[in-house]
Symmetry: none
Subunit: 215 residues, 2 copies
Amino acid sequence: MSVRRTSQREIILQELQKSRQHLTADQLFRVVRKKMPRISLATVYRNLELLSETGLIAKLEVSGRQRRFDSEVVGHDHVTCVQCHRVENVFLEGMKEDCPSHGVVDGYTIKGRRLEFFGLCPRCQKKNKVPKGDATMGCGCGCAKKMLTDEQKMVLQAMADFHGPCVAKDIAAATGLEAKLVTGKIADLKKQGFVDSPVRCKYGITADGRTAIKG
Amino acid sequence: MSVRRTSQREIILQELQKSRQHLTADQLFRVVRKKMPRISLATVYRNLELLSETGLIAKLEVSGRQRRFDSEVVGHDHVTCVQCHRVENVFLEGMKEDCPSHGVVDGYTIKGRRLEFFGLCPRCQKKNKVPKGDATMGCGCGCAKKMLTDEQKMVLQAMADFHGPCVAKDIAAATGLEAKLVTGKIADLKKQGFVDSPVRCKYGITADGRTAIKG
DNA sequence: CTCAGTGCAAACGTTTTGCATGTTT
DNA sequence: AAACATGCAAAACGTTTGCACTGAG
């Protein structure tokens, strides 16, 4: 049972390492697809699984909906921005003794630990200082509106690129998403105030929508 | 918008508090259904969500596939047994200063933290010490008892020989048993703690399982 | 009488699989 | 020529939602 070198695998690893973020499988898929348009999401998943088994990358099973993968494998912890959902590594000094990854706690023989912090990243803190306008994205206390899904972002981006009102079909064409799916996304985005319908059956991005995809 | 008192809600809360474990929605559903056979899983989800919003219970978004809910709401951390998957609360003293849940880390304004330990629970440690005999009886929490049937043994043996997670089909091929039958056996073995599912739709033999076929 | 809550089924988004078809060794 | 990997479509999984109805207030 050997692991072979395939171009897909190479690109996946390379892109994960290049982007020094903690990408979801889907985000990585989108990046990789630019270089290799015919790659499938299943391949990305299979390779991420395989690479994490071999220890080349780390599966970052922090809670939340989507799993994230990390090319940094040395011991560190994570901090998640509750507003923009960015995940970053943190290397805490002087905590190794107090927060040990080995030892005994309550009778358990500890073999590992995971420490996550939740807070506001510098960017979002700055953004929240602006007292009006894009404060729509929420109060930063975690009660903010839902994050946009990647597909919602795609739709929104396509709508931004498309100058003037457009129909769902235009977006479907621009994003490569299925028309029916796009219709649903648009409805969601409308509910969130990121999209409106200046003309019947035609849609456009709102100012809120523009700020939403800027981050 | 008031929260009403319904029998479903009452039973859900009651059962969650009674079982002092960290149940998944599905586990709780199974328990509650015994007292209220017509309750639906959606109701369990809706109520868990609602109860956690009101702060009566805590949503435990620790890593893993399934969300868990906790009737204990004061600040504490968790330890997970890597063998039996039990999750318990731990209250660590003298760590609050070093592992702060508020403050600033790398520019992030921290609003919370989550700390999880992974290790072996006392029960499983003890169990691992006993090399033979009635160690087959499981973790002592009443979750395992029956002797293995010959077919169950076959399945377990095949799984032991198969290094790494496997799907039911693999076992069917290895044992020559019918795939559908194998699926059933795996389910039984899982219930007894001899098999687990490290990856969705994939199965592996547990340490318990290994001791079970050694005799 | 009202509207929060329910059961049911169907939808959702993410992840995994089966299978026929490539690619690497 | 194996053994491994891929693309695609379809399934599985845990969770959420839409809807018509029930029952608490």
